[in-house]
Subunit: 509 residues, 2 copies
């Protein structure tokens, strides 16, 4: 489900008119549209790590990848997002079909299910979605941002796909290295609805009261109660909701708590929900993840279309995190059994999860920076030391040989580059290894392979002069040694000033 | 450079008005916008193989990936595509900035260079671009399609980056398995321009005559000559152009040919171009690819902004290909030294190539189908044979263990699935291996691991009953044996009817 990045602002209708005409006087500014960004270099490496990890987990569960067009026919999106429809980007009417940019990945999936004769599928899609929201770049709210959705569609026995989705959430966060930091809160719409009914909430107020309950993780009880009463609840009714929604704990604990309440269990909806949660617990045990899930009766989730389990993955931030950078939900979803019928003749029950790629990215990037990894992946810089015509063709031939061996390599695209410039280029790029060509050495069939950034007293500081035929092997040897040496650095230099390590050209990723 | 998929049709202004209101009476059709497609399953696997292969080659050359927003400010795109500007998709005016979908990846790259303080970079981008062209899906002309661009920007010595681009084209096609089938045609704008001048083409007619020359690979000389004369050339002038542009061959051959013509070499532009091609040849020799490149004096390329070498990679189709499926250019590009200055204060010389992903996809898909690979990547289907509650939790636990070992696995999401249904599901999904659970075997701590689709007289037809503790190892053993067996099939069954192989559940990718 694609509701993880629910927009929270107003549409940008109030933007300054001036922007439309471009900046100031004269030449129009060369800039990027508001609320969008260019991804480049190290950021893409971190982002791709997330995509790769998630994609591998999904494939392991037999999922098929879907890639839909960036725009859909306008009527496909119409009437699906309630008030948020005003955030949809329309394409201009230039003749022909009326289209709009996709707002999430759920509606395109439902459209695809409706168009094809697919009865059941596990599908995933990782792609950008578009919302004409007021951007807040610092807080990570963008107009173009990534979603990563995994859904199981089809008629299956109760709670089996739901349990697998939860297992997948655990697997994905373990794959990106956040397994220990994430907990999953879970609740069931049938229990929540029944609870509201038992407490005395009128049927037409259930959704609006539900959205008040959803704020309990951010606001104190008093404020939430105030909102409920403003929405027309009596104080006693609100208190009864508050009494139950304050409970959270292991699935077993909350199931037992509910079972112990005759009043609750007398409600058909609660009873059904508890039975399903009981079944879910037994499946989570088979999947070995019951301890990764917390049953939280206050979890409500915003979207209307959920019909069964709902869940939200939360990251525990380190204690020194500022409230500015506080990050809550990084994945969310639930069961929605009545949505696909809007597009096809058949109703297909679905359960799914949407991962907040940008939020996961922000966390991983922080850690990535802590590790001071290098942005580029080039392993070898091929240099000339003097020589006729800067030994350009010789550098080309050496680079060519490295590429053929699958080793990434660069050289200066100058005929006669100076040696310090070449070292500088290698250092700037964080390249760990150099091959230095000299006229006399080449005549003798030799090249120098040298790990960069070694200490002055390191025995291999000057590199090794090797036969040209042994070059590739020597490069591989020094690269793998450099890696183990680099890996050892943090332990060895724990007491050194951080700056000592930063200034030094890094020797491995 | 992103001109590989040059649009050739008219804008779709003439589309039936009716489409705007949706189909027929009543409910609006659930469909996808014209000229777009959903990518799914096996197609995505083939496509990703191209992306991965290209990305690895680019990284090996030290390239950085760039991912720009799907839309740009409208004025960034304005005035960059000449007549084709009418094919740009605008976003509707909903207040705020005026934006349009990207038309290619070159302008966003130039915009990014202009915005950032980047002096030099190797960058690549693989992404969809948008053109409001009349779609011709059968011929592969879409409104949303992929481009894969690699460019080298920066002030470098003559022909060094140009040679590297050519080497990259060779590397990418080798990486996707088309190395043997692709040849690269190359020419130089300075030579072409000089040749026109020598022949007597007026300066203001050079571009339009150039575009006539560009048709020489599709039309007979007589028709091209006719077009030139209609464009105002005298017969003798056209003939002189025809005399030179008919030559193609190795770089050395054509360079020698030009050098032998005093009349040509007297032209400064030709002389400069020939010197550069001479230099390029020496670099291609250092890169070991001079035999992959053909110097074709008739290659002109459509776009105005090329200033130096231009090239086009062509695939040689098998002799039995129908003309319908004839595929010509699958990558193209050249040097463009004056484009980036339109966006920044600095002019940055660039040379680049755009790979035609959709065309490469079509070729690989054809081969992929020939190999009859399975669409999904699931290795194991976990089944129950009888047992209490369909042994669901036991199946879950087994799947869970396989996932943990990195093995892809599925099971029926039914509490009590029938055995034939489970076999059918495995067969449909092309799953090579099954684990079959039985109550008695489980009680004895055993499971059955069985390769699917073995012949009736195969010694392992019934699979192997192994200790639960040895299950993962046995799965890995049978998977790797199944793969080598499947690899041997084409050789062993060469004389059998194809259908024999198709009907059989496939045992490996």
């Amino acid at each position: 489900m694609a509701d993880n990045e629910k927009p929270q602002g107003k549409p940008p209708a109030a933007e300054k008119k001036g922007e439309k005409e471009g900046s100031k006087a004269g030449k129009q500014a060369v800039k990027i549209p508001k609320g969008t960004r260019d991804w480049v270099g190290a950021d893409i490496q971190v982002r791709d790590k997330i995509f790769k990890a998630a994609g591998e987990v999904f494939a392991r569960h037999g999922a098929v990848q879907l890639d839909t067009p960036v725009f859909e026919l306008k009527h496909i999106l119409a009437g699906k997002y309630g008030e948020d429809s005003k955030l949809i980007y329309d394409l201009a009417d230039q003749g022909g079909e009326m289209c709009a940019l996709r707002y999430d990945l759920t509606v395109p999936f439902a459209r695809w299910l409706g168009m094809t004769n697919t009865q059941s599928i596990k599908r995933y899609q990782i792609a950008k979605v578009y919302r004409r929201d007021q951007p807040a770049v610092a807080r990570g709210r963008m107009r173009e941002f990534y979603q990563c959705d995994f859904d199981i569609a089809g008629e299956y026995d109760t709670m089996i796909p739901d349990a697998e989705i939860l297992r997948i959430i655990v697997d994905v966060f373990e794959a990106v290295g956040l397994g220990k930091d994430v907990t999953i809160k879970i609740n069931h719409r049938k229990i929540l609805d029944g609870l509201f009914a038992v407490a005395g909430v009128p049927a037409d107020k259930v959704r609006t009261i539900s959205s008040a309950v959803d704020k309990l993780d951010k606001l104190p009880w008093e404020e939430v109660k105030k909102e409920m009463m403003e929405k027309g609840l009596e104080s006693g009714v609100a208190d009864e909701i508050g009494e139950f929604t304050k409970h959270s704990g292991s699935l077993k604990k909350i199931i037992d708590l509910l079972k112990a309440s005759e009043k609750m269990m007398a409600n058909e909806s609660v009873k059904k929900g508890v039975e399903e949660m009981d079944l879910l617990l037994s499946y989570l045990e088979a999947f070995e993840i019951p301890d990764r899930v917390t049953f939280d009766l206050a979890l409500a989730r915003g979207l209307d279309y959920y019909t069964g389990v709902i869940f939200e993955a939360l990251i525990e931030l380190p204690p020194n995190s500022s409230s500015e950078s506080r990050i809550g939900s990084i994945a969310a979803g639930g069961r929605y059994d009545n949505l696909v019928g809007m597009y096809g003749r058949r109703q297909i029950p679905c359960v799914g999860v949407s991962f907040g790629v940008d939020r996961i990215f922000t966390i991983l990037k922080q850690r990535h920076e802590d590790e001071k990894q290098r942005a580029k992946g080039v392993d070898v810089y091929v240099m000339a030391f003097g020589g006729k015509n800067g030994l350009l063709k010789e550098r080309m031939a050496v680079a060519s040989e490295l590429w053929k061996a699958g080793i990434s390599a660069e050289f200066s695209a100058k005929v006669k580059p100076k040696l310090p410039q070449q070292f500088k280029a290698a250092e700037t790029g964080g390249v760990p290894l150099s091959i230095i060509l000299g006229e006399d050495e080449l005549a003798a069939g030799k090249v120098r392979v040298k790990t960069l950034g070694l200490a002055d007293d390191h025995p291999e500081k000057e590199g090794r002069l090797v036969d040209r035929a042994d070059m590739v092997e020597e490069v591989k040897r020094q690269l793998s040694e450099g890696q183990s040496e680099a890996a050892a650095i943090p332990a060895l230099t724990k007491s050194l000033d951080d700056a000592t390590i930063v200034e030094k050209p890094q020797t491995a990723a």
